[in-house]
Amino acid sequence: MKKVFAVALGILTAIGGFVDIGDLVTNAQVGARFGLSLGWVVILGVLGICVFAEMSGRVAAVSGRATFDIVRERLGPRMGMANLLASMAVTLLTFVAEIGGVALALQLVTSVSYVLLVPFVAFIVWLILWRARFSVMENVLGLFGLSLIVFAVALWQLGPDWGELLHRMAVVDKPGDEQWRTWAYYAVALFGAAMTPYEVFFFSSGGVEERWTAKDITTMRANVFIGFPLGGVLSLAIAGSTAVVFGPLDAGVDTLGQVGLPVAVALGKIGLAIALVGFVAATLGAACETGLSVGYSISQYHGWQWGKYVRPDVAARFHLVLALVTIVATCVLLTTVDPILVTEASVVFSAVALPLTYLPILIVANDEDYMGGHVNGRLANTLGTVYLGVIVAAAAAAIPLMVVTRMGS
């Protein structure tokens, strides 16, 4: 059983990257509108995040240095500050959205308006970040978040024409009534969502929290190569099940309630209950991940003591940042802004943060001062360089696409 928990960090990181509230709705929307024709983008994103999460995890294990420490060290304080501001915009907006997402999931359970639930959820999140042990947080939320596997079961149960489904994915067969530029916008958005910087901030800092050393590199790799593909599978399952149920209706998906309907169709109340557990756990997990990432980034830029592996009073500034950020998130959500719209807007800022995050990781993973004998091999370097190119291209395309397609409408 302990072995299962050993990969909880990877699973929780993947949950935040692939099935947080923004992805839950976007994947469902994409499935409903485009079928699985964007499936390969998810696969591309999974491979990309695996490459860089492995690198940042290896750096954290061997040298004890987490990602944002490295970003400032290699790029300097000016570029580091630019990255900090951009990635804060993404991570903070996502944190706001996740707390809203937990409230939305709880609304589906209680039918209490989500705005009323926000302060309660924010308090729970802050309590977890302040008091809960890191391992307890990742094990509980990671494992319960895996309940979303019920979407794969539902897809199976719906009995779609597998040949046709996979054919449309392989051939990138986009439904006729959608334009290629909208397709391209969602492709860039999905890719950006799969590789958001807070995933590597969280994963590498989590590795330090878990006190990884060079001996734990195999465990770290298990986390990466089990966690992220699982996240990708969950993504595809959600897209697939909404494609089967909403596709023929020619209907769009933009609320969490709609996302769960295919499971109800396929598996009834039991399946829906499991999906609801998955919604709450995944959004809560993503809230903890993004909240901690804000604290990690700001603390690692300034050199403050951070982390849950020390007593809160030893990392006082870190916990102060977390508390402030939770209060800000609550205030933003109490203005009744749509949490899902908040995540979609943050895609823009990913464009700046992505290249400035992954380039330093790639360089430092080659630096013998940090890595000793564990520098990148040729495979890691080749994949890393190729993906850096893809990331820069996606970053350049993000803003024009967003404007031209009016955010994918």
Binding site: G64, R78, M81, V208, W304, E368, V375, T385, L388
Partner: protein, 233 residues
């Protein structure tokens, strides 16, 4: 907690100030995080030798580094005005080099972190002043900027000092070599090629061949005949 694979202490050999010291994490003797190295204290002797004597940290050290040239000076002025009533507002926190035990991926101290950051009054100059200078040829034509500073330890009676042996001059910003000047075959191959191509005009100048170092004017003069190609570490 830090599992440094390389226990080699960089302070025992030659090192680069920007690449190996600046913006590194400072860790205390118990492994707890202290601060970042925001700048370095530079002291000039009467004979013209330059030496790094202390690590500097805090907003007073970081703010001037956030922008170059005029914008940087304006930012620094704003910072000073924000703390006018405070006597030592513009005084950075200082950690003497004698307190540094080991330099690997981070800077490890010999003491616990309680009270280690002290404002001790401004002495000498800062590395950032050197990095902001324009490097001119003999006819006053700008040749480039200081990208990095080569240091060498020479233990002496009164405290640790890292002496400046020479400067890496080139176009671009300090630290933009990203470490490829020291290790040209550090991977990945494409990134290394691009960085080295962007820095193809860079060279190394020994400190004794630097003339007319003017702190107030922000210029130094270098004889192009004395510029050498960069050596590998």
């Amino acid at each position: 907690m830090t599992s440094d694979m390389t226990r080699q202490n960089r302070l025992t050999g030659t090192l680069d100030a920007v690449l190996h010291l600046l913006d590194r994490q400072v860790v205390d003797v118990h492994g707890r995080l202290v601060c970042k190295v925001d700048d370095l204290e530079l002291v000039q002797t009467e004979s013209g030798d330059l030496g790094v004597t202390a690590l500097l940290s805090g907003p007073a050290a970081l703010v001037p580094r956030l922008a170059d040239g005029r914008l940087g000076r304006r930012l620094h002025d704003h910072w000073r005005r924000l703390g006018e009533p405070h006597l030592d507002h513009d005084d950075p926190y200082r950690i003497d080099l004698a307190l540094v035990a080991h330099l690997g991926s981070g800077v490890e101290l010999t003491v616990p972190r309680e009270g280690v950051l002290v404002r001790q009054g401004q002495r000498g100059h800062r590395l950032n002043d050197l990095l902001q200078m324009t490097v001119q040829g003999p006819d006053g034509v700008p040749v480039g900027r200081v990208l990095d500073v080569r240091l060498e330890p020479r233990p002496q009676a009164n405290g640790e000092v890292l002496w400046v042996t020479g400067l890496v001059i080139g176009r671009g910003r300090p630290g933009s070599y990203l470490g490829y000047d020291r290790r040209p075959d550090m991977g990945p191959w494409l990134v290394a090629r691009i960085v080295r191509f962007l820095h193809r005009h860079s060279s190394y100048v020994a400190l004794e061949h630097v003339q007319d170092l003017s702190w107030s004017g922000g210029v130094m003069r270098v004889d192009p005949g004395r510029m050498e190609t960069l050596e590998r570490a």
